[in-house]
């Protein structure tokens, strides 16, 4: 990890790459506008968070899901009060299915399938991101808008939930940029998981792969 002081975040690296620390001096202060990038997520489910609770949003006795601040995905049931663009959405979804069935889509050399990631995989992760982990994102403006960057996280646990949540966060915060994760070889040796990981843009944590992604201007996550 990089230095902890907020003052050394501006120290330019010798090679011109800028190191943005993710750990500011005081972890629980609200982020100032100039605060370093910091993706903080509540690692534990809602109940645990409530117990330790200086930050509960929902009332203590609230049993159902807390009200989400974002509108949930629009229900496409055949209600009379349908949203006006449901027909377009249906045609779009069917066209997507058709492209899948006829193999009419593109993947890159790493096996990354942007369309599937954006429309299916990230869409599945987003409710988990909002409602289960209730991720807070700060300092996302420090993520470059088009150049390459290496995002380093301190992640724990065997299931890389934090990596997936960071991927959702980066996609939302950067107007649709994809975080290309570097994974352990075990991921790619596992059936299904290796396949899904490659389709989501992950690749092996090897120097050659990381360098290739960074030099092509991608956001790389470790």
């Amino acid at each position: 990890m990089t230095g902890d002081g907020p003052d050394d975040r501006r120290a330019p690296d010798r090679d011109g790459a800028r190191v943005v620390p993710l750990h500011p001096a005081a972890p629980d202060e609200p982020a100032a506008p100039t605060h370093p990038t910091r993706t903080r997520r509540r690692a534990e489910p809602r109940r645990a968070a409530r117990r330790s609770g200086p930050t509960p949003v929902a009332p203590v006795r609230a049993v159902p899901e807390p009200v989400t601040d974002e509108p949930a995905s629009v229900g496409t049931g055949a209600d009379p009060g349908l949203p006006s663009d449901w027909e377009a959405a249906l045609a779009d979804a069917l066209a997507f299915l058709r492209r899948r069935l006829t193999g009419d889509y593109a993947v890159d050399e790493f096996g990354f399938d942007p369309e599937l990631t954006e429309r299916v995989l990230l869409a599945l992760l987003r409710p988990i991101y909002r409602r289960w982990f209730r991720v807070e994102l700060r300092g996302a403006d420090r993520i470059p808008a088009e150049r390459g960057a290496l995002l380093v996280g301190n992640h724990s646990g065997t299931l890389a939930w934090d990596a997936l949540m960071t991927q959702v966060a980066v996609h939302e915060a950067t107007d649709g940029r994809f975080l290309r994760l570097l994974g352990a070889d075990l991921v790619f040796a596992t059936p299904v998981m290796g396949d899904v990981a490659r389709r989501m843009g992950a690749t092996l944590a090897a120097n050659s792969d990381a360098e290739r992604l960074l030099s092509s201007g991608q956001l790389v996550g470790v």
């Binding site: 069917l94 066209a95 889509y105 993947v107 790619f188 040796a189 092996l204």
Partner: protein
């Protein structure tokens, strides 16, 4: 300096035969000798024109006499097919490994030889979950195969390195070809995708990188014509297809087979003489393999005309593979569902208005 006498091995196969035919069409080349143990088929022979066919076994030291007598200056060893159709048994191994050994020994003695081009395969990189996404020419495989086709290819490349140490005056180039597809070539890959129901390994979706047969021939032709080319070059098309995607593009039905049953399915297909897979081809179906082609573009100076997707589509069209699932049928189903949902919505809206 343009080559004057070229010797091509393996001319009864696709690559060797068509390369010989192309070289024969080039008036700047004096003579083209084609060597193989069996004569080329009638279609190939009709294209070959002035190619002089020499029926010889390269394992036999007699090949040295052929080289010496014709003053051969360029040897293209195209005996190792990039995708062996059929099992890679001991006979093929002997042919390719011992044949290469004898051929290179003959070249070493012949003072006229000044260029050797070897056709190899990207299988030398292996296929494993430890692999980087792309292999470049300097990388070595993570799991060196202990036997079979990839191992033989590695050995053959080793012989050529030894040869170029002993004959530093001879320029050598190893061309590592990706799996070839195209309307005319017949390999284990093309047979595999011609199956109406294509077995895959459940839980894995390999990345495939292919090469169009015409690009392969153009690369071989360039390797013969020039002698200032790199020692080792990956030859593959741009882009990648996922195995499942390729099966769908061909209108085939994928049949995911659980890994323990893969061996049985493989044996059934081999027994029915449909297609047979070597263990490393099965690993390729699990993990796939993609190579970096920067050196091909820059140092070698060749850009493939077909991308992987275009090459595959050309193969599907050229073979006139009748799709089991056609695009039209999928589009029809799409329209049907769309209309159905619209009708249901109108119906429900009508009911809602009545109540």
């Amino acid at each position: 300096v343009a080559p004057s006498v070229v010797l091509v091995t393996g001319v009864s196969r696709f690559l060797g035969g068509h390369l010989a035919a192309r070289l024969a069409a080039d008036p700047s080349i004096g003579r083209v000798l084609g060597v193989d143990t069996a004569p080329p088929g009638p279609d190939l022979r009709s294209r070959m024109g002035r190619v002089e066919f020499v029926r010889a076994d390269i394992r036999n030291p007699l090949i040295a006499k052929v080289i010496a007598r014709a003053d051969v200056d360029t040897v293209v060893h195209a005996a190792l097919s990039p995708d062996p159709s059929g099992t890679w048994g001991s006979a093929t191994k002997e042919m390719s490994v011992l044949g290469t050994m004898q051929l290179l020994a003959a070249c070493q003695k012949a003072s006229t030889v000044r260029r050797v081009v070897l056709e190899s395969t990207t299988a030398v990189y292996g296929a494993s979950p430890l692999d980087p996404a792309l292999f470049d020419e300097t990388m070595t495989p993570n799991d060196l195969p202990t036997s079979g086709y990839a191992r033989d290819a590695t050995e053959i490349e080793g012989y050529l390195r030894g040869f170029s140490r002993r004959r530093p005056d001879v320029s050598t180039t190893v061309l590592r070809f990706a799996s070839l597809v195209g309307p005319r070539i017949d390999t284990v890959v093309t047979r595999y995708f011609a199956l109406p129901v294509v077995p895959t390994v459940l839980g894995y979706d390999a990345r495939l990188q292919l090469l169009h047969e015409e690009d392969a021939l153009a690369v071989l032709e360039r390797a013969v014509a020039r002698d200032d080319l790199p020692d080792v070059v990956n030859v593959a098309a741009d882009g990648v297809l996922l195995l499942s995607q390729a099966i769908r593009r061909a209108g085939r039905v994928p049949l995911p087979v659980p890994p323990p049953a893969v061996g049985v399915v493989g044996r059934v297909l081999a027994g029915a003489r449909i297609a047979s897979f070597s263990p490393e081809q099965l690993r390729l179906l699990d993990f796939g393999r993609v190579v970096d082609t920067t050196r091909l573009r820059t140092d070698f100076g060749f850009t493939p005309r077909w991308t992987t997707v275009q090459a595959f589509d050309d193969f599907v069209r050229g073979r006139a593979l009748r799709p089991v699932i056609t695009h039209e049928r999928v589009e029809e189903a799409e329209r049907l569902v769309d209309r159905g949902v619209h009708a249901a919505a109108r119906l429900l809206a009508g009911l809602g208005a009545r109540t």
